[in-house]
């Protein structure tokens, strides 16, 4: 018994150690290269220089682009979460005819729209609607692409919350919107947070749509600016790229930490039935 227990423990910690290594090792470069004067692909002990950061700070578009990324991703995430929550709630609680088929169809179509082939229709649509070079336009387009998956995930959250909370509030006289605000949203808040972070991460890394739809470099997000850190011949400027990559990663990580601290970051929340 004890021998088996010990073996089990050893096995457990070995597995955890392997997992930790697997998920950490690829990140090492990001931790060392920005602090190295002349970084290569090799991970080495950095000479702790701040020059690279200075270079990024002096870059005319680098830091502003992070702000643009923030506007785009937070804007999209808010819109996605709000709309998906309302829609998923209604779909979860009310039997609308053909709702499952509709959801699956939308989910499948969303795969087309996130692909490269959709760039022409989306671009021309944006031109027709006068949404070119506008953060709002891009947010709307990105939201459209993310919504089906968000609704799909959110509906799962909603389906798994007991209905008695809502019924209880309802007997006390709460209106549907009050129920959503007072009861449903707090109950599925970890789910909303998860979807929010998912949306942020998606927009944060998106290059093609922002590049095509925003011509004004002062409106372009960090994903686009990252692509500019190459030379005429396509060579990566590792100094800038590693440092900006780090700075570009920090906000999403902070956002995740904040959200996970504040709202919990789990699927289906912490409510036991």
């Amino acid at each position: 018994m004890t021998a088996r227990f010990v073996a089990g423990r050893i096995g457990f910690y070995t597995l955890i150690a392997v997992l930790l290594a697997f998920f950490t090792i690829p990140l090492l470069w990001l931790a060392t290269a920005p602090f190295t004067s002349d970084p290569t692909y090799e991970v080495g002990v950095p000479d702790f220089t701040w020059e690279n950061f200075q270079a990024v700070a002096e870059h005319p578009y680098a830091l502003p682009s992070l702000y643009n990324s923030l506007v785009l991703s937070v804007g999209t995430a808010l819109l996605v979460v709000a709309m998906a929550a309302l829609a998923a709630y209604a779909l979860s609680r009310v039997r609308l005819p053909g709702r499952d088929a509709l959801l699956y169809a939308l989910l499948l179509l969303s795969s087309i729209i996130t692909g490269t082939a959709a760039m022409v229709p989306l671009f021309q649509l944006a031109v027709e609607l006068n949404l070119i070079d506008s953060h709002l336009g891009l947010i709307l387009i990105l939201t459209g692409g993310l919504l089906p998956a968000a609704i799909f995930m959110m509906k799962d959250f909603m389906d798994s919350t007991p209905k008695s909370y809502e019924e209880s509030a309802r007997v006390f006289g709460a209106s549907p919107l009050q129920i959503v605000r007072h009861v449903v949203v707090p109950l599925v808040r970890p789910g909303l947070a998860t979807i929010g972070v998912w949306a942020v991460a998606n927009v944060w890394g998106n290059f093609l749509m922002p590049y095509l739809l925003l011509s004004d470099v002062e409106k372009q997000p960090a994903a686009v600016i990252t692509y500019t850190l190459y030379t005429e011949g396509g060579q990566a400027n590792l100094r800038m790229l590693s440092t900006f990559g780090l700075l570009y990663s920090v906000p999403v990580v902070l956002m995740y930490l904040f959200v996970s601290k504040k709202y919990g970051f789990r699927f289906h929340g912490g409510i036991k039935r």
């Binding site: 005319p60 578009y61 671009f123 021309q124 093609l208 470099v217 990566a236």
Partner: protein
């Protein structure tokens, strides 16, 4: 930098005074112009971006003001892969948007013209287009870059050329001369063999495979094809599995099958970067590259793979034909050139002013200013080149020796696909396929791309 600022201030002040003098007539409608390039401050082609933003814009505005015109110029920077830039530009132009003055790669001229994205300059601005004084200074072959179906669609903004770079230190070790100039492919191979026995890890690097994309075509198979006397397209007909192609692929086989090159490197996604790195580290003996390599890669000042002793260590030679006299047009030596174009957006509301801006950027003053401070490149104008290339032995070499014998890619819409097919052929050979077989596969592919065997010259 400081000087430039002072100049700008003086200009602005001077203009301000003139403007004051005639303010009664001025101040009316402001003409807004935009100029777009795939260049961005702090990133790709930063120098070019800074030049446009800090010199062209204020100088042109000032010059216009002097003429009594209120013109505002906005620079639209960008810094992405050429394909992405091209996509964006195409979408913009198709939708009637985009900057008034735009840069495109010379190779896009045909497909853009066919799509109606760009128009002959004469159609847009009339006689002024052909009347521009600068044409006289631009060599015929470079003008050809901007010409499609006999009409000028743009102004060429520069050109380049390809040579064989070699590492003199390694050459010395292998007992090869520092003023090496091979006269045939065999001499290149012989040098490679000597380098190999002298312990050089990678004796020869000639780009192959699809991973390097167009770099394989421009710095690989196309110069070799030209050296064997072949062209991808001639008189509207495409060349299939011709003898020159088989010869060119045969050289690949000798290099990569004979242990004179690193076949794996050709397949790596970042293989070209790596070849630069290795050359800078003294691991590659001979490398076929364009002048960009000299200016932007091993440049001791701000290259991506700087070589502090570039001027002493790195030698360069003309690319020889397979055998003397066997190259295209019976040449002994060959090269390939590309070049960018600058043109006017047909959707521009102010084509005349846009053309003025366009020619302004190609005025001798602008070109001289642009190439100041270590940013020397080969401009389209011979008058300017004479002046600015003086202290640049390599660029002078290219301008004087290479450009007269260089060749250009066919500026037609299907070329990119043909190029990919060529790259695939080199990949196959580098991977061990026989040249004849790879050439046959290329021809088959070519038939699909160019619309049937009827458009191909039978071997």
């Amino acid at each position: 930098m400081a000087l430039r600022k002072v100049a700008a201030v003086i200009a602005v002040v001077g203009i301000g005074l003139t403007a004051c003098g005639q303010s009664s007539g001025g101040g009316g409608d402001t003409i807004e112009l935009t100029i777009a390039q795939n260049a961005i401050a702090g990133g790709k082609n930063a120098a070019a971006a800074n030049f446009v933003a800090n010199w062209v814009v204020p100088q042109f505005e000032a010059a216009q003001k002097a003429k009594g015109k209120d013109v505002k110029v906005k620079f639209v920077p960008s810094g992405v892969d050429d394909e992405q830039y091209k996509t964006k530009l195409s979408l913009d132009l198709k939708s009637g948007k985009g900057a008034d003055v735009i840069d495109i790669d010379g190779i896009w001229a045909g497909e853009f013209a066919e799509a109606g994205y760009i128009k002959p300059l004469a159609d847009l601005v009339g006689a002024e287009a052909d009347g521009w004084s600068g044409w006289a200074q631009i060599p015929e072959s470079v003008q050809g870059l901007a010409t499609y179906n006999g009409k000028k669609y743009a102004l060429p903004i520069g050109t380049d050329g390809r040579v064989l770079y070699f590492n003199k230190t390694l050459f010395q070790k292998a007992g090869l001369p520092a003023d090496w100039q091979p006269k045939s492919w065999q001499e290149v191979l012989d040098a490679g063999t000597k380098l190999k026995s002298a312990g050089v890890p990678v004796p020869i690097q000639i780009n192959a495979g699809t991973a390097m994309g167009e770099a394989t075509s421009m710095q690989g198979v196309l110069p070799l094809l030209a050296g064997a006397g072949g062209e991808v397209q001639k008189d509207g007909k495409w060349t299939g599995a011709s003898q020159p192609l088989k010869d060119a692929l045969g050289l690949y086989q000798k290099i990569y099958g004979g242990g004179l090159g690193d076949p794996q490197l050709q397949q790596e996604a970042k293989g070209r970067d790596k070849s630069f790195q290795q050359f800078a580290e003294g691991k590659i003996g001979i490398l076929m590259e364009g002048d960009y390599f000299w200016r932007g890669v091993i440049n001791p000042k701000d290259g991506v793979a700087p070589m502090a002793d570039r001027d002493q260590t790195v030698g360069y030679a003309l690319i020889p034909a397979m055998e003397p006299g066997k190259g295209i047009r019976g040449q002994d030596f060959v090269s390939m050139s590309g070049g960018a174009l600058r043109t006017i957006n047909p959707n521009s509301k102010h084509p005349k002013e846009a053309f003025e801006l366009l020619t302004f950027t190609l005025s001798p003053e602008a070109l001289k200013e642009e190439t100041k401070g270590g940013n020397v490149r080969i401009t389209p104008r011979t008058d300017v080149n004479k002046e600015i290339l003086a202290g640049e032995p390599l660029l002078t070499f290219i301008s004087d020796k290479v450009l007269p014998l260089t060749a250009f890619r066919p500026p037609v819409a299907v070329y990119p696909q043909v190029s990919v097919a060529l790259q695939e052929a080199t990949a196959a050979v580098a991977g061990g396929t026989a040249p004849d077989q790879a050439a046959a596969a290329y021809q088959k592919k070519l038939e699909g791309i160019v619309g049937g065997a009827g458009n191909i010259i039978a071997p």
